[in-house]
Symmetry: C2
Subunit: 360 residues, 2 copies
DNA sequence: CTGTTAGCGCCTTCAC
DNA sequence: GTGAAGGCGCTAACAG
């Protein structure tokens, strides 16, 4: 009832924060002047002294523009949505961290949505755009590419793909999956490996395909032949990695001396299988994985990886998206080239072929 | 350039989404009626047929209330803020997932903030409340308890502590750190261990203290004495776990046969040290850690853990907070009791004391 | 150059 | 039971 500044009932506090009219009154200017100064409107010419007074009064009153009012007027929410497959996956977490930093720097907030049990991907886009009214979408999921992309385009709303590409869309920010994978193979080749296996991701996904091609590139550079028997589909999970590793162990003869795994989880699963099978890493089998992360240090032995700029990818995606929203111009695809091998203890030269016992 | 269905200027599309007046007109009723029906206003009596028509028309027009307009009017943002120490930590990720689910179920969105380099915790609260105008705060950080708590209280805004307690605040949702820790020790005791070490967290943090006390409880239950030499401070990182394990290995004589680690990362670091030192797990040293997570499966050997309802904790926190915001009533602290040992391969009975070689 | 004014879309009394 | 009207705080167009 009486909900003015000093209330006693203790119910929900109606924050009596300063509004633009308070600032205008206290500074002896019009609301418009305050609005323009606060937004840093370049085209607004005003005496320095007035500008200063406004700024000071605003600070003193702790004035913060009400985003709802501003949003109502401008039909902008100053927020971005980011859609990821899962939250508890370090890869996506780091993309988010980067995106959030970029958003915060430009005054946007970030709404995070993950693919939920029973909620279709396209429904998430809809919800973010139609209900939350985000100004733009950062999309790191694309379960069914064609469906998702047409849904996205139908929204007629700014968006950017991160860590994915799709045909017909040139708004993307990706890392160099292919180049990094090639580098992984190069690393193994440099150590002397000639029989190199690959645990690949899900067959039709962008990242998997790129990493597989990078693997092939690496072989080719080294003058090695691609042998489909040395490649097993592992998906992106530990279990998948384990199953694929088992398969390789059984059917790839002779056994590879090194493995390039498409993800850290894949490698982790594979390493479990190797341990059980009594295959020593790195003595009998070298292992390298794409993307770096804390779990690489935790594995036994610590895992050699290809480090990629995941945070930067998120940062660039948000930056590009905001640029597009505010500038209106088109932006085109961006590939972050930088990749780097992080040597730990899971890679080593292949063991010398031991002398044939019969020859003793 | 022309990359969209129907657009010529190519500038930002002003989404002409349906507004309440459109629905009212199309359904032949007043805006007020639509508003009441859409919000499910109980005290609004209306013919079923009218209600149905409104609902249908709204669905057909794909009407979504504009949150800015609604927020301006109601001075509510229908959003919650959650503040965590780091995003790329599975523990916090799972709390967030739970909170997000609860928020979504009740029509709230969740703004995630993490402690950023160079941004004080209290500044994050301020920003969320004053600038983003969240309706409530879920706080999982509390670096400096007294400072943070008074800042929180000064905000005069609904908040709930999650995974933390603080004196003078009874709005919290926590798991049973102490009971779960006791259970971990019980598990080791049941296997026959009598000399059990503890790698503890940062000394003055809520969770660390509880887990240490749970450890002590467990010892006491088993009639064992607490020996400060068997406890080493490990913080929450791998490096800390490694350092503490080294310390224990050097200074605790005789060496413990089992370790209870305060976190998964701590255990991971410790296991690395044990491996280097040639101490076999679980033959020579059993290891168990508080909280469960994917990395437990990845370690060598897979790590036995105490599983705790992290997601539920986030869910309950958001639910309680929303209840408070909407209902206005006080809510009191909540402890989620359920904990469970997940047996993997890092715990086993202590090796029999081998017969003294001299006695042969 | 600065101030006045007219809504943005919604919710909520208050008449009918 | 239903509708008309005012205003939440802000910005952008237009006067002066």
């Amino acid at each position: 009832m009486n909900d003015s500044p000093k209330r006693d009932a203790g119910l929900k506090s109606k924050r009596p924060s300063a509004k633009i009219s308070d600032v205008a009154k206290a500074a002896g200017v019009s609301q418009a002047a305050v609005s323009r100064v606060m937004r840093g409107d370049e085209s607004f010419v005003v005496r320095d002294e007035t500008r200063k007074r406004i700024t000071e009064v605003a600070a003193e009153l702790n004035y913060q523009p009400n985003p709802a009012a501003r949003g109502l007027r401008t039909s902008r929410s100053q927020s971005l949505g980011i859609v990821v497959p899962e939250l508890d996956n370090p890869v996506h977490a780091r993309i988010i961290i980067g995106a959030e930093r970029a958003a915060a720097e430009r005054g946007y907030s970030l709404l995070i949505a993950h693919r939920d049990a029973g909620m279709v991907e396209t429904a998430i886009y809809d919800r973010l755009v139609q209900r939350n009214r985000v100004d733009g979408l950062i999309v790191a999921t694309l379960a069914d590419e064609s469906v998702a992309v047409s849904a996205l385009q139908a929204l007629d709303h700014p968006f950017v793909l991160v860590n994915r590409k799709a045909s017909g869309v040139n708004h993307h920010v990706v890392i160099n999956d292919r180049g990094g994978s090639r580098k992984a193979v190069e690393h193994l080749v440099a150590l002397g490996h000639r029989r190199i296996g690959h645990l690949s991701g899900a067959p039709h996904r962008y990242n998997s395909k790129c990493r597989l091609r990078g693997y092939q590139d690496g072989l080719k550079d080294a003058g090695l032949f691609y042998d489909a028997n040395l490649v097993a589909e592992a998906g992106y999970t530990m279990e998948g990695g384990a199953a694929a590793m088992r398969q390789l162990l059984q059917s790839a003869q002779p056994r590879p001396t090194a493995i390039f795994a498409a993800t850290l989880f894949t490698a982790a699963g594979a390493m479990g299988v190797l341990r059980e099978a009594g295959v020593k890493i790195p003595e009998e089998m070298s292992m390298i994985a794409f993307n770096d992360g804390a779990i690489a240090d935790v594995l036994a032995p610590p895992l050699t990886t290809v480090r990629t700029p995941l945070e930067t990818m998120g940062y660039q995606a948000a930056t590009a998206l905001i640029g597009h929203i505010e500038g209106g111009g088109e932006f085109s695809g961006q590939v972050l080239e930088e990749t780097e091998i992080v040597e730990r203890q899971s890679t080593a030269p292949p063991r010398q072929r031991r002398p044939d016992p019969a020859s003793c």
